[in-house]
Subunit: 449 residues, 2 copies
Amino acid sequence: MKQADVVILGGLSGITAGISCRRHYPDKKVILIRKEGTVLIPCGIPYIYGTVGGPENNVIPDGLLESNGIELIKGEAVDVDRKSKVVTMKDGETIGYEKLVFATGSVPLIPPIPGIEKENVYPVKKEFDYLSHVYRHMNDVKDLVIIGGGFIGMEFADECRKGRDVNVTIVEALPHCLQIALDNEFCEEAQKKLEEAGVTILVNEKVQAILGDGRVTGVKLASGQELKADMVILGIGAVPNTELAKKTGLELGFRDTIKVDRYMQSYTDPDVYACGDCAEKQSFFDGRPIGIMLASIATSEARIAGANLFSPTHHNCGSISVFSTVINDRAFGVAGLTERTATHMGARIVIGTAEAPDTHPGGMPNSSHTKVKLLFSKDTGVIMGGSMSGGKSVGEMINVVSACIMHRMTADDIVKFQMGTHPALTSSPIVYPIVNAACKVVIPLKGIV
Amino acid sequence: MKQADVVILGGLSGITAGISCRRHYPDKKVILIRKEGTVLIPCGIPYIYGTVGGPENNVIPDGLLESNGIELIKGEAVDVDRKSKVVTMKDGETIGYEKLVFATGSVPLIPPIPGIEKENVYPVKKEFDYLSHVYRHMNDVKDLVIIGGGFIGMEFADECRKGRDVNVTIVEALPHCLQIALDNEFCEEAQKKLEEAGVTILVNEKVQAILGDGRVTGVKLASGQELKADMVILGIGAVPNTELAKKTGLELGFRDTIKVDRYMQSYTDPDVYACGDCAEKQSFFDGRPIGIMLASIATSEARIAGANLFSPTHHNCGSISVFSTVINDRAFGVAGLTERTATHMGARIVIGTAEAPDTHPGGMPNSSHTKVKLLFSKDTGVIMGGSMSGGKSVGEMINVVSACIMHRMTADDIVKFQMGTHPALTSSPIVYPIVNAACKVVIPLKGIV
């Protein structure tokens, strides 16, 4: 039997957990077990079909494991005996551990739509060979239907159209695409950008059946409309991959995620940790469980889990939920609560908005117009969230907002935020929109902060 | 005699101080007095000569004053009687005030080099007509010598070469260009980028004399070398414009800046405030006076000054000093201390560095390689500064570091920083370099944080 100090089960966040563990405990022997021969960059998957040009260009190099002294075992772990602390592989091999980390991620949600099993209907699995197969077929497609207008659906629609003569249609059940993530005005802006790129978006529409004789030929909607389709992509979400965790008796929590505490230690077993999509997450704000799955949260949790394995002291403050996307060259970002989620919580909020070109003067080449919306508590003045759209700088600007949220800065703190500015890189210091959005709530918050 | 609640003297930070005042005190009448007919975006001045294509494209619109209900008086204030609270203009007009703000900025430093007064030798004044004159002459120039390899000098060199058949040479007295701002490795990278663009850089060289008969024909260096020159740009720094402040009896401090407290209130007179280049600045770190002049600091101080005019409560935590530049398409940014400045202070520091492409996968179009260097106190683990180079995202990434510094985050806090990531906008979450640079100091700081 092989023996390691730490055995990690899983992909992306497993790599980060391993690196973090080796950094904190350089003497510990770490083995990473995963089924996949090759691990893909998960957020890069839609880009395989356009900008990046194939799955082979979207791979996380295993060199990262070697250079950090982590042993890789490719294969499927089928059993864990927590009493004797042994993992059993499909081929019968056994590996002993002192500490075990579940980083088993998530698998696509497959809705019970009649005809879902037909040929050329693809849920977005994070598997190299599978996605290569989809890639090869994509070039013959004339009518692509994407079920679900979330991030995955929108990004797939935007990418698949690039360099292809294909009709792309998104079918979204809610009144807006991206509705779970963004406030309405940003949803509408994103939809408009995608429609300008030639994508058809149908909202308030449900798929009733997938048509075709063996191979998909169309999609029937609840409204009665039928769409031609020779390929269907399912982008309606994911569920945690926690079957093995359940089998070994770990307590599952919200939506079948592994129940973990603030140190990422499983509720059930002090020698078992979990991180990433398979682990339960709590909101930074109210501490309640939340269902968000993001690679950035997964790696953040993995760093914490790896650091805590032999001394649980690094505290997870809960998920702020920071993300960004690009739709037809327009970037969108959110950190923390949106107006929608804050209102749903019943929080009394004050909103400040500001707009500015992301260069100064605005006439610089490649200038984009940035729109920023910040939410503050009406009672404490503390920032609760930020949303924005703009050019590429949104990707890091939303991280500035994340840092402000993490430290519970007030509007008054943000008014005094010291940003660096440069003509080609940022808005002018006079109109820097994060600061100016905070300035706008000075009067509504007067007497509070 | 005209009468206002608030009179502001000056340009850029005057606008922001006025807007801030009107936001906090909407009933107050605000008058802005300035000499210049048109105010230029100060950091955009080098870009007039290349990317932006002329001074008329680099103007701060006066509409910003109108829309904020601020009255503009164009003219020169020549006297202030603080006892009777009256400003006298050059044309004899008098304006009474309740609160007065000095936002008079800075003027270029003109070194006592023989021949400095010759024709076609230009200090960088922030005056529209003057810079238009330089712009018109620039197209006839064959040999441009720039004295001083700081930000202004480097940016001028980079911009003036664009679209012109001109030999550009920078003469810098120190061993590196940008040496006051950046650590050596970044100075060297910036110099290399500029040399690749065809600019000649001479370091450890002083200008002994400017040659020519009326009009400049060359520059004589202390080493004996003579450079041909039909235009010389002086970029060796600026001095505060505080003559009027001195004349009216305000106490001046470090390098003749107006002495102000943490509320931006002048030491001498509770009804007089100052902000921007003309006001004394203190370091965020040790609280000592510092000589840095940046538009972003100026506007930050202006927001504080404007908010405090009728109730000094908004506190200036001192200048972190955050800035960025672009040299031949490579961006550089610094927030807080550099290794050089921290070492000079005698601080015991630990350095973490990390590199990563600013997209993921790295093969995305327009991907750049980001280099990040973070400094932490060896005693407390608190971040003291960050430097970076990379693509355009550096402009906002350095602001993420600024937010971390402002809240005195420790390396352990930054390891747990929750950034959003996206393939086209940021580094991969596994290698996000701000976080990974912090991860690198986990062991050196073990037991501290």
